[in-house]
């Protein structure tokens, strides 16, 4: 009796390794699976050919079954390229993005492959709205991450007058430290994250202690300080490249799982990251509004001389601002590395652009301006491809907005006109 029940199972297990239609691939300790479903918005698409190329270049073909599914079982781990043969698609179906995808196959796991297709009857208006929602969600996510970093940048500007060109590298630092602590040393993500934040905060404290405060005391001009940040940025970038190489590294090795909320599909990590950002930003906002030290910070940011005259220890406030700003930047970098699934030595290049656009848009020197500016910039960057801007230029949109804004309202949305010279 048991054997009879087991028989179908045995059939399955004994199934030939690759190309068979309708069989399920079971990953084991010595075998990995790659699987996918070819589906358009109208339904599954059977009889589509895909080519799977292994790291050494050998390819095999696989055909989707009646349920649109396909899978291959492979005996080697590594990067596999999956190409959809577009001429095997029915006439009214076409690939809606790239027709090939590269995945990492690992033993004892199934690597999912998604090559989106759609029919020509695809009604763009509906999908446009969905696209908009999806992009808005990504934009919100980007905006929140930018906000974490830009609040610090804006406060540093407000309290010391310094435009910190090394800020983007501090963000990258968070990601790189995350890679070392969580990925390389295998520490738990949450614990590692706290460690990253602490370390980054320490770099902020350290910087102010041995460099910025002594230089301020010496009376070094703001231009000189700005050039010092440029030199620091260069040194940090190449230190990253020195330690990690020129490749993209990840904090968490596994492929992320996606979660769908209505039309919005984001990775789990994105949702968590957004949640953490909101909580942290709210905490910072609360601190600035309600605590004594927060009010002192806003006072110094507004008018350092007056603040000092009213008994506030300006140096202490500035030290705190540097520490917190760098801790926030580190957190931002860690989350950024998690949601974009990778960080590089020069990730700072793109980020700096956006940070400055956000801070200037909101108003140099105000923390709330930085928040508002970041959200707007995040949305603009993610929505512009949907609204017609070619994908390569989405960062250019942010800059365009910055330039237009400076023509019309240089103090930003929430800034004060006296600050602009």
């Amino acid at each position: 009796m048991a054997l009879l029940l087991l028989a179908p199972l045995l059939l399955l297990v004994a199934a030939p390794p690759a190309g068979a239609v309708g069989t399920l691939c079971l990953p084991t300790k010595t075998q990995a699976c790659i699987a996918g479903t070819v589906r358009s918005e109208a339904g599954v698409v059977p009889n589509v050919k895909l080519t799977v190329t292994d790291p050494s270049g050998t390819s095999q073909e696989v055909v989707t079954g009646d349920d649109g599914r396909w899978n291959v079982q492979v005996t080697k781990e590594g990067a596999y390229k999956i190409t959809l043969q577009e001429d095997t698609l029915p006439d009214n179906v076409a690939v809606s993005g790239a027709n090939e995808v590269t995945v990492q196959a690992k033993f004892d796991a199934t690597a999912p492959v998604l090559i989106p297709v759609r029919t020509s009857a695809y009604v763009s208006s509906t999908s446009k709205f969905d696209e908009l929602l999806q992009s808005s969600a990504s934009g919100l996510r980007l905006g929140l991450l930018l906000a974490l970093a830009s609040i610090g940048l804006s406060l540093i500007y407000g309290t010391t007058g310094l435009s910190n060109f090394a800020h983007a590298e501090q963000v990258t630092l968070g990601g790189i430290l995350g890679y070392f602590i969580v990925n390389v040393h295998g520490i738990n993500l949450w614990l590692g994250g706290l460690l990253v934040i602490a370390l980054c905060g320490f770099t902020g404290w350290f910087q102010d202690r041995i460099m910025w405060q002594p230089l301020r005391r010496r009376g070094l001009g703001l231009t000189q300080l700005m050039i010092v940040t440029i030199g620091l940025s260069l040194a940090m970038q190449y230190t990253f490249q020195y330690t990690v190489g020129a490749r993209t590294v990840r904090v968490v090795q596994d492929n992320p799982t996606v979660r769908t909320l209505g039309p919005i599909t984001l990775t789990n990590q994105s949702f968590v990251a957004m949640g953490i950002s909101i909580v942290v930003i709210a905490a910072v906002g609360f601190a600035l509004l309600r605590t004594r030290i927060g009010r002192a910070t806003r006072a110094v940011s507004d008018n350092p001389a007056l603040a000092a005259a009213s008994g506030i220890d300006v140096d202490r406030v500035i030290r705190l601002v540097w520490t917190v700003a760098m801790a926030l930047a580190g957190l931002s970098g860690l989350l950024y590395a998690l949601v974009t699934n990778g960080i590089k030595w020069d990730s700072g290049l793109q980020i700096l652009l956006l940070l400055f656009a956000a801070v200037t848009l909101g108003g140099l020197g105000t923390a709330f301006g930085a928040l508002v500016g970041s959200l707007i910039i995040g949305l603009v960057v993610e929505l512009s491809p949907v609204l017609g801007m070619p994908g390569d230029f989405k960062y250019a949109t942010a800059l365009l907005i910055l330039i237009l804004l400076l023509l019309v309202r240089p103090q930003g949305l929430l800034g004060r006109p006296e600050r602009i010279g």
Binding site: S163, F165, L215, L220, G221, L222, T223, Q224, M226, I227, V228, I230, G231, L232, S233, L234, A235, M236, Q237, Y238, T239, Q241, Y242, G245, L349, Q350, L352, L353, F356, A357, T360, L364, P390, D392, F393, Y395, A396, A398, L399, L402, I403, L406, L407, P410, R419, I420, G421
Partner: protein
């Protein structure tokens, strides 16, 4: 001994390379922006890339050389206008932010897949597509030349004593240059150190001390008269250059892709640019720039159109940058990724090292910068085992040193090598 010789050889080669000349010209442009006018342009690489694209794309499409150069200039001009219009009326920070962002955007646009037909996207444009009209101009012929033809190997086969004597002579020449240059600057006399106010009372506050220094240095008591000084320095420089090539003979093709032709033209252009800057700076227009750097409001109150002058300075510096960009890509290829933010930072390091707001500073700084970087790389490669620092890492290490050097220069010696300390306490 051989490793040292090899490192020195590579330093000399790097010092005269056309890329060094290109960065020297770009730094000259940056000097007009930042050194003389106080404009914080952190997007010089954007000007360079635009000049390079304008040049390469026009020639690639068959336009003559001169048109290519003019189009490169035109691109830089438009860029300057677009960046300057919104920001020159605001604080310096805003120009910095906009220029650094705009330079990145130029890079993105250049490497975008959409413009592959024009710009070659991320791969860029191959040198062959635009180099020919330039190499065709060469009248150097097709051989190889070694500089100098009379070198150490001609005396006792390059024995160690010949080298030692040669290096000592070189050291003597350089010391001579430094001493003669210093002799031209006066020393403050004791009587002027204290400052007296209108009542004749000597006040010794720090402000007066600083003012006394300023007063003293402005009067340059020349021990040796300027024309004699300049001739002596000129002769010593010529002898030093000869000695350098004598001790380290370098050989290149006469024309070729990256031979003597492009080098000679490049350094000739550097000399031309230095001359142009000299003419500009010693004129009343140059005086206006320095006044604007000092205090815009004061200049405005004297009836000058500060915005227009700042824009002119931005454009002029940008044109130099474009020329630098064209030279940079001539012996190589137009690669947007190699002309990004780091290149701007190199220009700044070269400028600040040599001395901002001086005429020769940017050129000197560029030469020293590139030679020093090669030296660091060479020494690290030769003496640090691969297990600690492999080949790629020495390259990156040299850049880390550049970043740290920039910080140290700005903090401890903002006037660089040739600069005037009193003039260079810069503030936004």
């Amino acid at each position: 001994m051989d490793t040292i010789q090899a490192i020195l050889n590579s330093m000399l080669r790097e010092a005269i390379s056309p890329q060094t000349a290109a960065v020297a010209i770009a730094a000259i442009g940056l000097n007009v922006h930042f050194g003389f006018t106080g404009l914080l342009n952190i997007g010089q690489s954007g000007f360079m890339l635009l000049g390079a694209y304008g040049f390469a794309i026009s020639i690639g499409h068959g336009l003559p050389l001169v048109v290519g150069v003019l189009l490169g200039f035109a691109a830089a001009l438009v860029f300057a206008l677009v960046l300057g219009a919104p920001t020159l009326k605001l604080r310096g920070d805003y120009l910095a932010i906009v220029t650094i962002s705009a330079a990145e955007i130029i890079r993105y646009v250049g490497r975008s897949a959409l413009l592959t037909d024009f710009t070659g996207a991320a791969q860029g444009l191959q040198g062959v597509s635009y180099r020919t009209p330039f190499t065709n101009l060469s009248f150097f012929g097709d051989g190889d030349t070694t500089l100098s033809p009379f070198n150490i190997y001609d005396i006792a086969g390059g024995a160690v004593w010949v080298r030692l004597v040669g290096w000592l002579l070189l050291a003597a020449c350089v010391t001579g240059i430094v001493l003669v240059a210093k002799a031209g600057k006066g020393r403050p006399t004791k009587a002027r150190r204290a400052s007296r106010d209108a009542d004749g009372l000597v006040t010794a506050t720090p402000a007066t001390e600083r003012r006394a220094d300023l007063g003293a240095d402005a009067r340059q008591v020349a021990v040796v008269s300027p024309p004699v000084r300049r001739t002596v320095i000129g002769v010593l420089v010529a002898v030093s250059v000869f000695l350098l090539f004598f001790l380290m003979p370098t050989s290149y093709q006469d024309t070729g892709v990256s031979g003597w032709w492009v080098r000679v033209i490049a350094w000739l252009l550097v000399a031309v640019c230095l001359l142009v800057v000299y003419l500009l700076v010693r004129s009343p227009w140059g005086r206006l720039l320095r006044g604007i750097r000092e205090d815009e409001d004061a200049i405005r109150s004297l009836g000058k159109n500060v915005f227009a002058i700042k824009m002119q300075a931005l454009i002029i510096g940008g044109l130099f940058g474009a020329l630098g960009g064209m030279l940079y890509v001539l012996p190589a290829s137009v690669q947007p990724d190699s002309m990004g933010r780091s290149l701007t930072f190199f220009c700044y390091t070269a400028l600040l090292l040599g001395g901002a707001a001086t005429i020769f500073g940017p050129a000197l700084g560029a030469v020293i910068f590139y030679a020093a970087r090669i030296m660091i790389k060479g020494v690290a490669n030769a003496y640090i085992p691969d297990s600690i620092m492999n080949g790629q890492q020495t390259e990156q290490f040299s850049f880390i040193v550049v970043g740290v050097a920039l910080m140290l220069i700005v903090i401890f010696r903002p006037q660089g090598i040739l600069g005037n300390k009193r003039e260079l306490r810069f503030n936004v």
